[in-house]
Amino acid sequence: MGLKGQAAIVGAAQYKPEKYATAPRMFHLEQVADLAARALQDAGLKASDLDGLVINGPQFHEASVFVPAMAAEYLGMRLNFAEVVDLGGTTSVGMIWRAAAAIELGLCQAVLCVLPARMAPFGPEEDPAWMARAMRFGGHSTAFGAPEAEFDLPYGHMGQNTGYAMIAQRYAARYGYDPAAMAKIAVDQRTNALTNPDAMFFGKPLTAEEVLGSKMVADPLHVLEIVMPVAGGAAVIVASKEVAARARNRPAFVTGFGEHLAFKSPSYAAEMTETPIGPASRRAFEMAGLKPGDVDAAQIYDCYTITVLLTLEDAGFCEKGEGMRFVREHDLTWRGNFPMNTHGGQLSFGQAGSAGGMSQVIEAFTQLAGRSGDRQLKRCDRVYVSGTGGVMSEQGALILQGA
């Protein structure tokens, strides 16, 4: 069962994260075309090589339905495979394995996975107030009959912060809590970002004291343990072995994946501290024939520090309840004994909507291809990547391997 490792990431592009206020405004179709051209150039492939498209449906500016057809028409693509992924922060990981699976099935040879995440120009009816209105309930549905509109929003249960905070609080009650270890996650990732000129927080060192001294948003989460939303966008090209052979970079073969989801509000999880990344990661490792200890780096979705902690445990990098100790006892930087989020993670790189998770995929690819510059790992042949959507409600894992 599963992938045979016949498809690989061969090229990628992403916009440098920027503040929304100052980032260029581009239509999403235009961003898709621009990112596609850049990713093709990175891969050393031609537009005519592409015959598959995986794109975001939600938050696509110019359409909410028929998005792939509109994008194919706009770009000038002929597609044998088209897919929309709606998995929040794990959309990135979900796109890559869907593309790889379609290629292994023989449906297509090269798939553009793309996530535009800059704002579009305001139309005549749109203004900043319109934006504020659209963002008022974030990712929550206010539709009549939507369970969260009826049973969560009236109590003030909304947004992501408090959900993650409640998971962290329950973790603390079950296993104990070391705020300094949690701060170390953010600090080690910042150390990584100091080698990444594209990172939002490049050139801005961070100490544990600063993390713990920053504003408490929802107990026990400080503001510096929470990602900063930025404008950006990303594209990745997944191609068949044959196409990969004529691409420019060392390919990153997709040898394992897993995905798991069962709820939107973690309140309804069987146990909210045992996250879906557990089953997703077990499947991914099993498919690749690897164990967690076999990877050279982990690019772990990090919307919050607590996400990283629970992923370290549930993906099997350490025992349940030992995550804080694991963090204390390991150097998580690019020069350390457990290189993690070597680009800075989204906490230091910035989170460009659902493209934020693609930064982890792209960092894995870049490390495997030996193109990570100052932060390049000496040896990098196998990388674990995770994705997290909602409030640890939809999660996915990938194993990427260099040839």
Binding site: R133, A149, Y155, G156, H157, M158
Partner: protein
């Protein structure tokens, strides 16, 4: 509670649950096929998919599964609940409910603690939310937190405060005494007024300012960045006259008192329809002029719970 706070819109499926809450009863679906309890309400069992489901009353006893204290409102409209004590409760029947904790200090909250339900009437039409408190707490099982009830509660509290405060008499021409009133510290909060849609509509009629963001709740719900209508800044400004404030001093001995208007008038944040407002003040400056003694009183009016004022008004008063 501002009327722009999200409220549940009961469906055919969920109505029995919401109606029972109004009666102070917790009623949830139970699966006859497999014995599973179901929350939130559905017509099927989310364990075995059977549709043989019936409503049953439960005690509401359970334990605190998890919680957090939100230090920044999850939506500006929740400013009057700060800090929000958001919680997940697991009933003894096994279902979990997203809720908030009431009647508890932060230090009293522990995951795993026994809890009991509090039926909280939040709207005059009887709409009731299900909150929880500690099982051992002496806290009423039914509370009324409609804006009107909360404003009345505040009224009584401030009246008692004013009655208990000794008022310092200051002669208007005693420059030293008058200057000693100047302070960086604001008075305690005033009484409260509910700025409801009826009041806003009346003001729109009087002033002629009937812009939709004030007067059209349906359009505002769709298009306003605040999720609904907001009061006119000028309305909130003049409502100051309705608020009783424990100033703590009284200027005496003058023949005439002239309201010179305002040195500074700002509307830094909106007042959504249905909000309660209150105010506080401080003497900003006292100046002896040829005509008499001029006192500047900085009055700030806030939506209850909101640190940011909705109106800042530096009132200039001349005593002669």
């Amino acid at each position: 509670m501002s009327m722009n706070k999200p409220m549940p819109a009961p469906t055919e499926i969920s109505a029995p649950f919401w109606n029972a809450l109004k009666e102070g009863v917790l009623r949830i679906p139970h699966c006859n096929a497999c014995g599973h309890w179901i929350f939130y309400p559905r017509r099927h069992c989310d364990r075995c998919f059977s549709h043989d489901v019936e409503w049953r009353d439960v005690s509401g006893a359970g334990q605190l599964y998890s919680y957090t204290v939100a230090r920044i409102p999850t939506l500006p409209d929740f400013a009057d609940e700060m800090p929000q004590k958001l919680a997940v409760v697991e009933l003894d029947e096994g279902v979990r409910i997203n809720t908030t904790l009431v009647g508890l200090d932060e230090a009293e909250i522990r995951i795993g603690m026994r809890v009991k339900p509090v039926f909280d009437k939040v709207r005059a039409d009887g709409a009731t939310l299900l909150r929880f408190t500690a099982a051992e707490k002496d806290f009423p099982a039914r509370v009324d937190s409609t804006p009107e009830a909360l404003a009345a509660e505040a009224e009584a509290k401030v009246a008692a405060e004013i009655a208990a405060t000794s008022v310092r008499q200051v002669r208007f021409d005693d420059e030293a005494a008058m200057k000693s009133l100047v302070s960086d510290v604001f008075t305690p909060w005033s009484t409260q007024v509910v700025v409801d849609q009826a009041l806003i509509d009346e003001f729109a009629k009087l002033s002629g300012d009937d812009y939709w963001i004030h007067t059209d709740p349906e359009r505002a719900a769709r298009q306003s960045p605040f999720g609904g209508t907001i009061a006119h800044g000028a309305l909130v400004q003049i409502l100051q006259s309705r608020l009783k404030m424990p100033l703590g001093f009284e200027v005496t001995g003058f023949n005439n008192m002239v309201n010179y208007g305002s040195d500074r008038l700002r509307f830094p944040s909106p007042v959504p329809a249905g909000s309660r407002i209150h105010a506080r003040a401080r003497v900003k400056s006292v100046e002896k002029l040829a005509k008499g003694m001029q006192l500047t009183l900085e009055v700030t009016t806030h939506v209850v719970g909101n640190e940011r004022p909705s109106v800042i008004n530096d009132l200039v008063i001349l005593y002669m």
